[in-house]
Symmetry: C2
Subunit: 498 residues, 2 copies
């Protein structure tokens, strides 16, 4: 019997650098290796969406739509894949349905093939429109389950959720384990349950981060249970808060009933390319290698450091343990949302407020909105007293309907807004860019003509830093101006190596 082929989604061009280096990688550092990636045999290449859009215009002076078109041109044989936050698109609020349609349409037009659509609360009503929009333009709509752990989350519940996604027209199901919480046995059970319930031909993609050190085993058990495609990152862009190494997956399967059919010679070229690139972005790197605390606290690393800096800013850096004990309380009151952007920030900040000022003495506006249903529904019931308190505080009513139903058509207004901006190029793409990041896009439009910036360090800078670090003891390496005082008289003096 020939081995069953396991598809692989390579995430080096998107989630890997988002997770490892704060999404800072410049297009310039990616274009040179796209041909090899295109030929290596991946099921898809994740290269857009998530935080890359924001990062392009905020830090890199780069047009994200141009980035997508470039990837399309350089990887003509690959399925390009993106991560889409449902009704939030790539922004941080809900958008009205026509904007969702437009965004999907334009993404498809510019080259996107596979849309991985998720919602932080797993509320299907926040996915539905985006899923339908993808299907309408004839692209691959991947319905996503955000995996989390709570007293209410069960294998059966996840299987049912997969059913709802299939009902929406999902061409595949993604199990998204952004916090590396998915252990081998539940992965096996969920994948097998979905296959058993909805048919063996239901495509299942498994996305795990590697933070807890366990999830390559998770991928193995998911594959044994029938998973079709798994996400990995080339080894030089892997591990820590990132993903499992692509080459390790390939080697892991040798001799088993499964095979990736990836081209190892090309993988080595891809690995060597990013091995050279990675040090350029060292200053943006997280120091975490493996963190099994997440299993105990349910608190992902990024959320923890966020809460710590909030506490320090209040001179309460020593109260992190109290906050960590408060997080489960707040999460329960909110109905056990998965902790992922933006719910992780909302829950974490409220926990900090509770510790500093007394439990729910002050409610953040975002937490109030969460309690009132403005982000959607969670798996659990929300604390009714807190809903009342939130309503009283914000003078808003609790809602039970789909949040986006409250929105008026807004496309024409968004067009008008964009038209008033210097550097606006008249395209729908620019309208969408401004709609997603109205605080950043106007500045970007103005400076766009200057072309992309690379915030990574050059080889020369790296060499110099290395030299400086090694010679730190030797004080003066280049001309420096000093103020020197001798006998009460001050003078400016230039000192340089003799």
């Amino acid at each position: 019997m020939s081995p069953r082929k396991i598809g692989v989604t390579e995430v080096a061009l998107r989630d890997a650098h988002q997770s490892l280096m704060a999404t800072r990688m410049a297009m310039e550092d990616m274009v040179g290796i796209c041909e090899e990636i295109d030929q290596a045999g991946f099921w898809s290449v994740e290269c857009w969406g998530g935080a890359t859009f924001d990062s392009c215009i905020r830090f890199l002076n780069e047009d994200p739509w141009e980035r997508l078109r470039t990837f399309r041109k350089l990887m003509p044989n690959s399925r390009l894949q993106m991560l889409l936050r449902g009704q939030n698109l790539l922004g941080y609020r809900h958008y009205e349905d026509m904007v969702v349609d437009k965004f999907v349409e334009k993404s498809a037009e510019n080259g996107m093939d596979v849309f991985r659509v998720f919602d932080a609360l797993n509320d299907p009503r926040n996915l539905e429109r985006a899923m339908r929009a993808v299907t309408k333009v004839g692209k691959h709509a991947q319905g996503t389950i955000c995996y989390t752990v709570s007293p209410l989350h069960t294998v059966e519940g996840y299987i049912e959720q997969a059913g709802r996604l299939l009902d929406m027209g999902a061409e595949s199901i993604c199990i998204k384990d952004m916090a590396a919480l998915l252990k081998p046995q539940p992965a096996y059970d969920i994948v097998k349950g979905i296959k058993d319930t909805y048919g063996a031909d239901t495509q299942i993609n498994v996305h795990c981060h590697s933070t807890t050190g366990v999830t390559l085993v998770t991928l193995m058990k998911a594959i044994e249970a029938g998973a079709d495609v798994v996400d990995t990152a080339i080894s030089s862009m892997s591990l820590g808060p990132g993903h499992n190494p692509t080459e390790s997956l390939v080697e892991m399967l040798e001799g088993t009933e499964y095979d990736t059919d990836l081209d190892m010679d090309r993988l080595i070229k891809i690995r060597d390319h990013f091995k050279a690139v990675r040090p350029k972005y060292a200053e943006f790197e997280s120091k975490t290698l493996v963190d099994t605390n997440i299993f105990l606290s349910q608190i992902p690393g990024g959320m923890l450091s966020n809460m710590e800096s909030q506490l320090r800013a209040q001179g309460a850096g020593d109260r992190i343990d109290e906050v960590m004990r408060e997080v489960p309380v707040v999460r329960k009151d909110a109905g056990y949302p998965p902790l992922v952007t933006p719910s992780s920030q909302i829950v974490g900040t409220q926990a900090v407020f509770n510790v500093l000022m007394g439990r729910y003495k002050v409610m953040t506006a975002e937490f109030a909105d969460l309690m009132l249903g403005y982000y959607g529904e969670c798996i659990g019931e929300r604390n009714p007293e807190l809903i009342e308190q939130a309503a009283a505080q914000t003078k808003k009513e609790a809602i039970t309907g789909r949040p986006a139903d409250l929105l008026e058509p807004e496309w024409d207004k968004l067009v008008e807004q964009a038209q008033g901006l210097e550097g606006f190029d008249g395209s729908d793409e620019d309208v969408l860019t401004n709609a997603l990041f109205p605080g950043v896009a106007p500045g970007f439009f103005k400076t766009r003509k200057d072309g992309p910036k690379n915030v990574g360090k050059t080889a020369e800078q790296l060499a110099k830093e290395k030299e400086q670090a090694s010679g730190a003891a030797q004080a003066v390496r280049e001309p420096i101006q000093y103020k020197v005082t001798v006998g009460g008289r001050s003078q400016t003096v230039k000192v340089e190596p003799a």
Copy 2:
């Protein structure tokens, strides 16, 4: 059905710091956490042997026997475990049988429980005496298979090798995967094969490094096949060229038919202890995170960097690719030895010589000895022409017997040698220390009274380095008074940033 209990050997106190920080960890940085380790529920605690003995006297001015006695005292409830290089003991030559007996006897007397005995060539004749010595003193003799990959190494062959170890009286079998080459499927097949052939109650321990990123999956499949004990390192002392994280193993098994019964609260304390210790030894750390090249080249990372520095010393740093192609040729000629100390150095250096001077134009003394059988037998036939050349060059005869059979009784001579040394304390332990490292022990005996050194950095040093690195460009950051002498005239000068 209650889950099957999986034993865990914690390697933080030995192999972890040997693999991650060149065996430099001072006893001072370990004693404080021994009580927690003792209580956490490990099957055994690896804490002695390997390179620690050498490192103690060479770098740390510490008596390795005293280290063992301290561990014994601090961990009264644990099986203490060591790695023993068969007839080589912890040194780099074969020792006569009585010396082997003495070493094992003294190790047991000072507190050792489990002796993991291996030979770099997997030649059973190099293990036999040590195994018998362990059994004689009533301790646990663990027979070891060094795992490697070659056209001659098969699952069946490893199963047969396990049988030979059991015949020698092995109380358990260790599959030792020092280069992280053991993939999940062969691990499953070997473990299952041993259990099927020799009975389900045959204890199997699996030791994997994590260099290739695959081996936590390997441990999972080994456990599914029946493995009884696996080796891990607490997460803050794990990964890279080290081992899989202990906590990740625990979490990996949740919900499965297997359980470690380890005490997670204590694991967290152990983790936090070493998290604080590790930065002190940063200068000794390898930079490798994951390296799947090993699968392609069979060349472990340590061996590669060794060959590279040999080449650079000859001004031929650009010829590493040629050497990497030469290694398989040399390995085949030598009968496919596993590449592990010392065979990796012997094969690697000969490959370098072949590239620089022409194939076998010059044979190293060690390679000649290997070809003549002085290290023992390999799995494959050695190249007969090269055996002849080695004999002609060294004027020695090829041997087929057990190398140690050539040795005369040497204990009395070793006692006499030690007695002539300043600082010798008259004990058999000191005789053994000098027998193992005659080039280092005399110096150590002289300085022993000064007490152990800690080569790690102090918290103050680390803080200062950090400060220097961050402000490296600007030499003088706060007012400093200097005494400056120009043309014989001194003046006090104050310098501050302008």
